[in-house]
Symmetry: C2
Subunit: 198 residues, 2 copies
């Protein structure tokens, strides 16, 4: 018999942490510092890759949702940090369109992989804030980001989604470097670079 | 309080239909005919866009999973047909890597959008079978596919994923044409083409 449902849940350490998270983060730097710290803890907990994302209210800094990579914990390969942050935000707000009546931003510790590029584009968020872009992530961690159009940021802007880059870039790179220097497994399906965790 | 989980489920009509689905589909044409029929029913049921996908065993034709677009039903914007077919297959098999010990194919009624391009790439499937590629889908339905690299199929092949195109193309186009001629809503967030359902 085929399966007809699956559930995506944050890891227990983050569920336990949730009540202690700040309710508001006023600046992009404060927001990215939380993202970098969640990314660092995620791989040290053995939950998956060093990737995290949050959704915040662009006007007030309210923390709307958090996400980390849960591919290993959930057994679902689409469970990247962005998909988790966007999905839990949509579950909380009861709408697939995060832009219907809110001005929300997705904050991520690098340019999204190609899957999450689309996931962000269709989510309704009006802003994307990333710690950086470029080959450093793949070089330091070994993950495959997938094929991306060269004008990826302009394509967001053309759809009404602003892009802010290089927020706490050094902090993000420090997390990737620590991950790369560890003995943590890079979960590439069959060693072909065909799975990326972010 | 932030949400920490969300659940993705097939629509009730497909849950009801599941026990009646064939257990094996020997040829790519038989597989795509099922996909086209699920896609057509999905929009007529008011569940979302005219998009469906299945995962099959490439050697035996066993039907491993089915998916349709559930964005409206679930309230989760990543709930495209491919994400549902891949996620329910992974839930059934208990692994995020569909290629770990199976030779599986994802069969979809058009080239995946940019989100599902990545979702397919990281899923472990070793084959992608599509009804077609090109601007017809966007032109007939009004959905935005997102920015895709020109060599998208070669990028799959470079990662060990074979691509078969133009299987039951006319049948897929007939579904899109019927959808486009109806008064069904195209769910583009804020009318900017920023959400695509597939």
């Amino acid at each position: 018999m085929i399966a007809t449902t699956f559930t995506m849940s944050l890891p227990q350490w983050l569920v336990d942490e949730a009540p202690s998270l700040p309710t508001h983060l006023a600046t992009a730097e404060e927001q990215m510092e939380l993202v970098n710290s969640l990314a660092d803890r995620n791989w040290r907990e053995g939950n998956g890759g060093p990737f995290a994302a949050i959704v915040v209210d662009a006007a007030t800094g309210e923390l709307v949702s958090v996400g980390v990579n849960v591919v290993l914990a959930s057994g679902i390969s689409s469970g990247h940090a962005e998909v988790m942050a966007l999905g839990t935000a949509q579950a909380a707000l009861g709408s697939w369109d995060l832009g219907a009546d809110r001005d929300l931003a997705l904050v991520v510790n690098w340019r999204p992989c190609v899957q999450c590029y689309g996931a962000t584009m269709w989510s309704g968020v009006k802003h994307l804030v990333v710690a950086g872009d470029g080959p450093e992530l793949e070089r330091l961690t070994g993950f495959d980001e997938g094929p991306m159009v060269a004008d990826w940021a302009a394509q967001f802007e053309a759809r009404g989604i602003s892009v802010t880059q290089d927020v706490c870039r050094d902090g993000a790179l420090a997390v990737y470097a620590a991950y790369g220097a560890s003995d943590a497994t890079v979960y590439n399906a069959r060693g072909t670079g065909s799975l990326r965790e972010d």
